[in-house]
């Protein structure tokens, strides 16, 4: 049988970066094909070429044995190719229905088809067990549901070749499981699926074959059945990966952060946080596990000074944090930082970096006041040196301080942010989803950094949806659901099933 997709000697260059170099491999009809590789290995670029988003500088592309010159997404869609992008391609202020219809409206007047398509979508949702209401607006939906909308879109368009670029990065275990159910259904129907992920056990769980990329080239394709995690990891990174990182024995010090009776009610009068109380001591990592959207983000925002709570007391080393009596949180994060609270936010592109600044200019975001002590003068020489140090320490690639940070891969951006926050010598560091979309090599090094900080006596609050990550790092685990803390476990009590139950415990859906 003809392969569904065949890449022949594909090359693509962005300025100085060779994103793909002479990439050749093929994907069998009706299979699930995994593509893995470090951040920046060129996976997304290759898929974007297949989907017509970029055009290759050289090489050939064969779809079902036919050479194709795909010039844009429209032509890709015409060839039955569908893609779920790393960042969702949805129009936030439109409904699910309109998003699905977009590009395939079936006529000039929408109204005629809206009813019909809506019914169709409801049918699909039922058939594939996708819980989506076609009339909801995207901006009101959680990421998990948005992901389902993307899938829904592809089913509606009856794509035969489906590309999924890190679809599970933001999903919970349950959501991932149900996504895989859908993918298996797809495969049964003879569709071809290309899956990019950084999570190796997903590759092992669902793919038939896997291609490994490194620095723009293919370093090997293997049958999934004939491989294992360690081998794949080594192929990817070029060295063995440590899964069990060393850590000092648990010996927490004085209480650093104490939260009592924290409540948050938003402008729509929805209660987002209910009576949250906990404490963190020096030298321990407290992890908050939970399905995203259950109040963890808001908790981080409040603790970092980006948002004001409605009620409750927070004290840092015995002293109340200075948010009382304020009308808004404008400028408050600076005060919190001075008190020794560092923050690695969940959404790094939105909050943690200024995309159009260079890496160097981002390397002191939040600490600008400290640097410009005399008359606000910024000493770029010192800043540059400091930045170069950070880049070297955290092995950021490329280690070019003058590069626009948007051009770094997600993993490397995360390293810059982490480096910056750790360099501030905080008493408490708040870390949200530190390894989202980050490759395993980088995960290993970021985890090692966090553990080193813990060992050095820093209090760490980790928010993560990855149970694997929670297990690897936490000394204590709090589980959040519906704005409440529904349970607490010690590290040695770690039990995925129990945590899963607690996560769903008070959850409404």
């Amino acid at each position: 049988m003809q392969p569904a997709v065949e890449f022949q000697h594909i090359s693509k260059r962005f300025g100085a970066v060779q994103a793909n170099r002479d990439v050749s491999f093929s994907i069998a009809q009706g299979s699930i094909h995994g593509v893995i590789g470090e951040n920046g290995a060129g996976k997304s670029t290759l898929m974007s070429i297949l989907y017509g988003y970029y055009r290759a500088d050289g090489g050939k592309l064969l779809i079902n044995g036919q050479e194709q010159d795909i010039r844009n997404s429209h032509e890709a869609i015409g060839l039955g190719i569908g893609m779920v992008h790393q960042h969702f391609m949805l129009v936030d202020n439109m409904t699910v229905l309109d998003n699905v219809m977009l590009g395939g409206e079936g006529g000039f007047r929408l109204q005629k088809n809206r009813k019909q398509v809506e019914q169709q979508l409801r049918d699909i949702c039922q058939r594939y067990a996708l819980d989506v209401d076609p009339l909801d607006k995207i901006e009101d939906l959680s990421v998990g549901v948005q992901q389902r909308v993307e899938i829904l879109k592809q089913i509606y368009r009856s794509a035969n070749i489906l590309i999924l670029d890190e679809p599970t990065a933001v999903l919970t275990v349950q959501e991932t499981t149900s996504l895989f159910e859908v993918l298996r259904l797809f495969k049964e129907q003879g569709k071809t699926i290309i899956l990019i992920t950084h999570k190796l056990q997903e590759i092992l769980e669902i793919t038939d074959e896997v291609t490994v990329m490194r620095a723009g080239t293919v370093v090997g394709s293997v049958q999934t059945a004939a491989t294992n995690k360690e081998q794949l990891a080594e192929l990817m990174v070029g060295r063995p990966i440590e899964t069990q990182l060393p850590r000092a024995p648990y010996a927490p010090g004085a209480t650093v952060l104490e939260v009592k009776g924290l409540n948050l009610i938003n402008a729509q009068q929805v209660s987002l946080l209910k009576n949250i109380s906990f404490q963190i001591r020096a030298g321990e990592i407290v992890a908050i596990a939970g399905v995203s959207g259950n109040g963890q983000s808001e908790l981080l925002e409040i603790l970092s000074g980006m948002r004001l709570p409605t009620a409750g007391d927070i004290s840092m080393q015995g002293k109340a944090l200075p948010y009382a009596g304020r009308k808004d949180a404008d400028g408050l994060p600076a005060t919190f930082r001075e008190l020794g609270i560092a923050h690695v936010p969940e959404d790094r592109l939105r909050d943690a970096v200024v995309k159009n600044f260079s890496v160097m200019m981002n390397s002191f975001l939040g600490y600008q006041k400290k640097l410009g002590k005399t008359l606000g003068w910024l000493d770029y020489k010192a800043i540059l040196k400091n930045c170069q140090n950070l880049l070297a320490q955290f092995d950021v690639r490329p280690a070019d301080p003058h590069l626009r940070i948007a051009l770094l891969s997600g993993g490397n951006q995360q390293k810059v942010v982490m480096a910056r926050e750790m360099a501030a010598n905080p008493q408490l560091i708040l870390v949200g989803q530190p390894t989202r979309g980050v490759d395993i090599g980088t995960i290993e090094s970021l985890h090692a950094r966090l553990l080193a900080m813990r060992d050095a006596g820093v209090a760490i609050l980790l928010v993560s949806v990855e149970l694997e990550e929670v297990r690897a790092l936490a000394d204590r685990i709090l589980v959040m659901s519906g704005g409440c803390i529904t349970g607490e476990l010690k590290a040695e009590e770690f039990d995925a099933t129990r945590i899963g139950l607690l996560m769903g415990g008070l959850h409404k859906h």
Partner: protein, 360 residues
């Protein structure tokens, strides 16, 4: 296609030059259609705006005003604010300095009066920009809309104040009385007699100084860093502990103060009285200058001089060539802004292809 393929000299000089030439080419076509020789016209224009010292003096005189309004628009843009209100802020700034001068010009010597009057213009300009800034920061009212409205309001207010209070009784001219000589800005032809009778005065020097301060403040200080961070990503700025509303309000006030200072050149440096509609669109030209100069001090300086030259040279040209009405130069200004400010990459593909062919 990619601009980054090109060497720096090409993007910094060759492309802008090619664009300027294209604009002039179109302009030459229009001049030809109007029945005049483009080459001769260009000669007259260059001569009267650049080569003849007195003309150059006028060019720089106009440029001084444009530098201030250009800076006013630029600094707001750095914070992501599109201040269309420089015109009104300049107008009100003129009122500020006039009030100072009219009260004190009989009693104070120039060295005290002039700085005080400048303070007045900056303060009034800043005050006029405060409300749009405040409303944007605290109420989310779009600063573009409020500043446009404030331009109209300023025009009405000034019309009322000038006509009802400032015109000396029995006078026809819609202007305040003439200031005492102590309020006249020292002219540069005192130092450089070659400039002849031009109103070019110390405010040009001040404008250059303002450019330097602007450059340092925006790129070299914490404050400028916070300003730019706010302009590029408000979420990140908030995360970084920058007070967004304070930044917006302060920036708008500085922007207003700079616009207010633009009044100093024409009111205290040339006419020596406050007249109706004296800004004559300088605030709007400031927008073009900020955009064309990419909010960079050197860019602002060059565009301001270019506009000054067009006004001076165009005026002289229309004097010599009755077939070419002065409005032709408004058209040419527009063309230049279009080509140099918005189509900077027009020739990039061709140039990069040419360079590639050369190098291979």
């Amino acid at each position: 296609m990619n601009q980054t393929d090109l060497p720096r000299w090409a993007t910094a000089f060759a492309l802008p030059l090619l664009n300027l030439l294209s604009a002039l080419l179109v302009a030459a076509g229009v001049i030809y259609l109007l029945g005049e020789s483009p080459v001769e016209s260009l000669g007259i224009l260059l001569n009267s705006a650049v080569f003849n010292p007195e003309g150059l003096g006028y060019t720089l005189f106009y440029a001084a005003t444009f530098i201030f309004t250009g800076l006013s628009v630029s600094i707001a843009m750095q914070a992501g604010l599109f201040n269309i209100g420089s015109e009104g802020q300049m107008y009100i700034g003129g009122l500020g300095l006039t009030l100072v001068v009219l009260t004190l010009d009989a009693s104070l010597p120039g060295w005290a009066l002039i700085p005080l009057a400048m303070l007045g213009s900056a303060a009034f300009g800043a005050a006029w920009a405060f409300l749009p800034g405040y409303l944007q920061a605290k109420r989310g009212s779009h600063v573009v809309v409020t500043t446009i409205m404030f331009n109209f309001i300023a025009a009405s207010l000034m019309n009322y104040l000038i006509v009802s209070f400032l015109i000396p009784a029995g006078e026809q001219n819609t202007a305040s009385r003439v200031f005492a000589a102590s309020a006249w800005l020292p002219k540069l032809n005192g130092i450089l007699p070659v400039l002849g009778e031009t109103p070019l005065n110390i405010s040009f020097i001040l404008a250059l100084l303002a450019l330097v301060i602007y450059g340092i403040a925006v790129w070299r200080t914490t404050w400028g860093y916070q300003l730019r961070a706010t302009g590029l990503n408000q979420h990140a700025a908030h995360y970084a502990g920058i007070s967004i509303s304070k930044t917006i309000i302060v920036t708008m006030m500085i922007s207003g103060a700079l616009a207010g200072l633009a009044a100093v050149n024409s009111v205290m440096g040339s006419t020596h009285y406050l007249n109706l509609n004296f800004p004559a669109g300088a605030g709007f030209i400031g927008i073009a200058i900020a955009l064309m100069g990419r909010q960079h001090p050197v860019g602002i300086l060059l565009s301001a001089i270019l506009f000054g030259a067009l006004i001076q040279g165009g005026f002289d040209l229309s004097l010599e060539k009755p077939n070419i009405p002065p409005e032709t130069f408004i058209f040419i200004q527009g063309l230049i802004i279009l080509f140099c400010g918005a189509m900077e990459n027009l020739y990039a593909p061709a140039l990069s292809a040419l360079l590639k062919r050369k190098s291979s």
